[in-house]
Subunit: 404 residues, 2 copies
């Protein structure tokens, strides 16, 4: 059986992982705000961090820690980002790590800490210490849901996903969780993503698999240059399944990368759906661009346009705003070659404008909570798919009705 | 007397210009929607148009018309942008121009038409014709206010400004009007700006003066790549004043360019203040950048950040969002060298975080309707000033209180 099977458990769906999410009162009362993920055995690991030139202390420490490619535990606090906190921030990140490794009795170099919240304020270390203690006591092989709740900031729902596949008759699981809401485009609140698997995979292969999966999932939601000071995605592979070690040479490798990509993509989708005030999930496909880079330029310009986003909210098939965004994106465009569709309905066909009946059909497509917008530039074979959303709320009262 | 004196009259403040704004029912009833500006004598002229690769038909025609450097009349309709309208769009733009030049008895090559509104729908030519007729009958040397009202779309107030200075004892006037609201950053509804002067200035000099004035005014509000399909700024200089001809060699030239810049800057300021839901006008000064380009990158990233904008609305001196925006802007930045101030109060001083008392003082600065935010990168002497605004409304209910 080659198919991926969806399973419950999120970050603890894979064998050999425990997790916890506890109330450490780090900034607010009555909410889980401290999470801990632990592999029962040393795990290979890989991570991707923000490209922001102003990286938070835990990000800088995390880069060091992942150089070794091995990890046992990840601790996450919300409330404070520990960014722009200078030397004391680095000391606090190291101290938080020592609290975790000490409590768990694991090597400090195999511990990673992550923070999300307000920039420029120091971590309340006593509360962090209390959080570590509480979380360690609460570690549970079914703790994924609590952990997913504990990493939320402005998120309205927790985000988890896990899938299972077979290798030589042995089940292998990949599961994960993430946080991130805010306006997904163009500016993202800190995105944290954590993935665990009981597959056995070497660090270098794991890193390449993660990079490829993130490229078509989280990176298609988040614009590289717009990363927060704390964005982080980490994967741990502890080999606790009975399946043989996987590598690109193994016939099951494509199944593993497909599972990893599926988890990342589903988490990215959940993140977009949880964008503040989002009512529409839009899959935006740009095709026919002169190059893949051009396709990405065009797709990102469309996805970032507040005017386009408000038109989606207002069920207004205002393709003019779409083509205007392509026009300033920097991508090569010939107005007379462009085709724009909503779902399967053509709105603009190389100069031909949709008639009234077509407009009604376009509106029907947009009534769905999730729909696809396609833009074919007719110039080449560059393509790019972006996951994005509408922009609702009061802002829309002014913009959404502009053409109707 | 070298000082600029503010005068009334907007686009008709200068001698030898008449204007009108009429209700042509182009798209809506009961609103002025068609404007006409006419110089009583041939005027030298220059213009700047959108850099959007998908330029509207009137923009393409306007570029042709301004090649000659002479202009007699500008006609503007709202409701329809005449963009993405193919060959028929160009025919309609030409036909609109012929209606105007025919009615006024002027050369068609000295006529420019501008459109703003919905993309992808054809101009209702009968209503345009009616508008031309009505506007011609209403032309008035005091018609500036009507014209400024007639070019409004989502604008809530009309925007005019005019100044006067003396050359050899002769008054010379520069006046203008503009439209543009929507979310000023990062996406602008079409911006149209029109400026008239009774100075006598050669087309090439006029063009250079306009380019310089726009660079530090409209272009510091609008991001170049984000221009709409229709953005246009045009200046007409008809020489109707009794003052001698001006050129860069004339001692009064700096006064003329100062006047032109003052009009453009004040119109840009009015445009920002009329941004949808704007409650704060922020002058953002980035200094100490490694280069002027870096300063601009940093300033634009800050000004575009929804998180920064909502913090301004919420009176939250959240400088962390400012430094995060600089971090992903692409500009060189060393966290330990950065200083951020609100008004004259330092919020972040090379690693030193503001204390509680300072936070209260920062909030006081932000209570003003207009305030300045300064970011010194401490790396060089590149600087850039941007005029921007907050982001208010429901979106803010979620974001503005995040750190308080």
């Amino acid at each position: 059986m080659n198919d991926l099977q969806q399973v419950n458990g999120g970050i603890t769906a894979a064998q050999g992982f425990r997790a916890a999410g506890v109330e450490a009162h780090i900034k607010y009362a009555n909410r889980k705000d401290f999470a801990l993920i632990v592999s029962d055995r040393p795990a290979n690991a890989a991570g991707l961090f923000t490209t922001n030139a102003v990286a938070a202390a835990p990000v800088r420490l995390g880069r060091e820690r992942l150089a070794g490619g091995r990890l046992r535990a990840i601790a996450v606090n919300t409330g404070f980002a520990n960014a722009c906190t200078g030397e004391q921030g680095m000391e606090n990140a190291r101290a938080m790590s020592r609290l975790v490794s000490g409590a768990l009795g694991i090597p400090d170099e195999e511990t990673i800490v992550c923070s999300t919240g307000v920039i420029g304020m120091h971590l309340p270390m006593e509360r962090i210490a209390a959080g570590v203690e509480l979380a360690q006591a609460a570690l549970d092989p079914a703790g994924g849901a609590d952990a997913a709740t504990a990493i939320m900031t402005t998120d309205t729902v927790s985000k988890q996903h896990a899938v299972r596949f077979q290798v030589d008759g042995h089940p292998v699981t990949v599961g994960g969780m993430c946080k991130g809401a805010g306006m997904i485009e163009p500016y993202l609140a800190t995105m944290l993503g954590f993935i665990t698997t009981d597959a056995s995979v070497a660090p270098a292969d794991l890193r390449e698999a993660l990079r490829a999966a993130v490229e078509v999932s989280f990176n298609r939601v988040v614009i590289d240059n717009d990363r927060s000071t704390n964005d982080t995605v980490i994967v741990m592979a502890n080999g606790a399944s009975a399946a043989p070690a996987l590598s690109p040479a193994h016939p099951a490798w494509p199944r593993f990368t497909a599972a990893l990509t599926a988890v990342c993509t589903e988490l990215a989708r959940q993140m977009v759906m949880d964008g503040e005030g989002v009512t529409k999930f839009v899959t935006l496909r740009v095709t026919g661009a002169r190059s893949a880079d051009d396709a990405q330029l065009a797709a990102r310009a469309i996805a970032r346009s507040m005017l386009v986003k408000t038109s989606w909210y207002g069920l207004d098939p205002n393709w003019g705003r779409v083509i205007a965004a392509v026009g300033y994106s920097g991508a090569a465009v010939e107005e007379s070659l462009v085709r724009i569709r909503y779902g399967d309905i053509l709105a603009f066909d190389r100069g031909r404008v949709a008639d009234a009946a077509t407009r009604a059909a376009l509106k029907e497509v947009m009534r769905e909570r999730a729909f696809e917008v396609g833009v074919d530039l007719g110039l080449g074979d560059g393509d790019c798919t972006i996951f994005t959303c509408d922009l609702s709320r009061e802002y829309v009262n002014i913009n959404a009705d502009y053409t109707t």
